[in-house]
Subunit: 403 residues, 2 copies
């Protein structure tokens, strides 16, 4: 497997585009994206577990569940089309617009929206922009589509790989957006992945569902599980590989993991207001489940996140978060270390503090990527979670998001 | 029942003191408190559910569990005496010091510590300050004790009431500290309550345990459950009331609720960096338990807390937090309103947004006490939770707490 460029248009037979349609006032910010496969494609999706689900989530779930197929994804930013009486109607209208301009059946269109909750989605800007959007579809349009789905994101998030199934070269690529309201549970913010591998919908769903448990479900920016989380994978078979062997399925899962793992780190590191990417690795847990619970608790602690912003080696907050996480942990066996490109400092052994150089720790924690290594010394379970620091800018961004 | 002054020294037979002993560098900040009953007293306690428990929590649990009795409480701020190899030894030494200077058995002393985790507690400053601390004990020393247990708190937290049991006038009063690492589970930060009512230890524990479920366990400042949470009630019988009737128990519980309810609001309103007290009331839930889960989820949402800081009526974040709370909720029946001394504004009816004046909402949300009223229209369960906004100062305080 090798890393290639191209995002969602790296795979054969996929085109994408992103334009400014006017849902967002800033004319230079693209706010409408379209991804299209030139032929039928298997589809799999995972969605928010929030009981409050955006109308686009409900429409997409229905479309993909019906036949395990989809050929297009349309997505706007600036308005989540959630908690509005006309939400379903608007989401279905977006699918119908794609159908009208491309000939793809409306039931084979996935739809997503991200932005403010509770304000009626203006449909006219989308209607008016459809001709330009479809005309802009291109085999190198991934970057425009990735830009169009961004909200408070500061970086375009793309990744693509090339790999081999049964002797045939395949490609897979994804784009993501995610910066605030990030604490996915069974899914994450918006992630769209395409591949030209031929994969039955059931297999695609199985591989995707297994993947998100260790990737997007292990990311937290602020503990808030969005109403609009969605990960969609389309596989159009243009690589012309044959039926998948067991080894092929593993290769496919590895390709997906390369893309989702990378996008996870990008989402966490680009969390609202973030200055640092935090990666918490728990090893030696009784079970993988305990490791996941503990790692996610540390990454979610506001106190710990603020300490990381200040490059303060306040490891007591790590132990505190492990202790209240609900994981089955023997607190008298916990080790904690901090690591970055500037070195590593051990701060806690077997539940008690050890002497360390504050100066050295400050140096380690002043880097932009920090690893928190937690050893539980109780078994062989392990997990990794990703998050970011809590900063003044998080408060600034969210103190006045709507205006 | 009437509100009186005096805090933990309002009840007959209790004295208290607070001095600066030197654990904290700032000489003008008291950091050592002592509360003493002149005679034997029933005792009840609730403690942190964090698996990582401070050494003082473990020692106090053992002392009170042994006989349901305690005559003194010693508490320092500036160091939590948690995750240190010599923690138990130091906590027991504090009890022995009280015993040596007052004649009270060490097993009848409760001990508490609050501050940084993982640094060995210096015992010499406490040893040296004991003569002055005991000499300072007085029947109006509650304020000094309340000041000595403060960390990042900005306000002294005291409350006392007078009530009648079987014709005898009784008094009850409490002090509290709590500002950060506040998300109690089965207990809260440090709360000490005294009463001169005669109450068997078993009854006292029953009333206390029932109370914390609806008071301290419904407060959240930052979602972090401390390792040092502790609520202790001492009842010394000096009011000479007889055995408690059922009506007496209700009166006693009401007196306790007056004190704990008030202290809860003080803790939430004085959360680290807070500019606003948030009170979230959920009604119409299927059960009280569902109401508690939903209310606490809203009060704990970083996104919602940041919106309140910005006086932004972003009610979508309220619905989002209700939706991911885990409470059994029909999201199509949810009503949301904001209320303060400046008025009331309805923002959501039956799960969908309603039109409202942004100007009016801004006025309502610019007050320092905000009520979030959530109607679930599904039953008769209800609950109230208290929290605060998320501000720049929370980040500043916790970005560099140890230095």
């Amino acid at each position: 497997m090798k890393i290639i460029s191209g995002g969602v248009t790296a795979a054969k037979g996929f085109k994408a585009a992103g334009v400014h349609c006017g849902i967002r006032r800033n004319q230079s910010k693209k706010d409408l994206a379209l991804i299209v496969s030139e032929c039928e494609a298997s589809a799999a999706g995972v969605y928010t577990s929030n009981l409050v689900k955006g109308a686009p989530v409900m429409v997409t779930m229905k479309h993909i569940a019906a036949g395990g197929k989809a050929r297009a994804i349309i997505c706007n930013s600036g308005n989540a089309n959630t908690c509005c009486a006309d939400g379903i109607e608007k989401a279905e209208r977006m699918c119908a617009l794609v159908s009208g301009h491309t000939g793809i059946a409306a039931e084979e269109v996935a739809v997503a929206s991200t932005g403010v909750i509770g304000q009626s989605l203006p449909i006219e800007p989308i209607e008016n922009a459809m001709p330009a959007l479809v005309a802009a579809l291109s085999a190198d349009g991934s970057g425009d589509a990735a830009a169009a789905i961004m909200t408070t994101d500061t970086k375009v998030k793309e990744r693509a790989v090339e790999f081999t199934l049964g002797g045939k070269i395949c490609r897979m690529g994804g784009i993501a957006k995610g910066s605030g309201m990030i604490h996915p549970n069974m899914a994450t913010m918006l992630v769209f992945v395409t591949t030209d591998a031929a994969v039955p919908a059931g297999t695609l769903q199985k591989i995707l569902s297994a993947d998100v448990r260790d990737t997007f479900n292990m990311v937290s920016v602020d503990g808030d599980t969005s109403t609009s989380d969605m990960v969609i994978v389309l596989a159009n078979g243009k690589a012309e590989n044959g039926p998948l062997s067991e080894a092929d399925e593993k290769e496919l899962a590895a390709a997906l993991r390369e893309i989702t793992g990378y996008l996870c780190k990008m989402i966490a590191g680009d969390g609202e207001g973030a200055t640092k990417l935090l990666e918490c690795s728990v090893t030696g847990a009784a079970t993988d489940g305990d490791a996941r619970i503990a790692a996610k608790s540390v990454i979610g602690s506001s106190l710990f996140k603020a300490a990381m912003f200040g490059a303060d080696a306040n490891w007591g907050r790590v132990l505190c978060a492990v202790g209240y996480s609900g994981a089955n942990v023997d607190v008298s066996r916990v080790d904690v270390s901090f690591e970055s490109s500037a070195g590593r400092v051990d701060v806690c052994r077997m539940g008690f503090g050890v002497e360390f150089s504050e100066e050295e720790a400050k140096k380690v924690l002043s880097e932009s990527e920090i690893k928190i290594l937690i050893g539980l010394n109780s078994g062989s379970g392990s997990a990794t979670a990703w998050g970011c620091d809590l900063t003044y800018d998080y408060v600034r961004i969210n103190g006045d998001y709507r205006t």
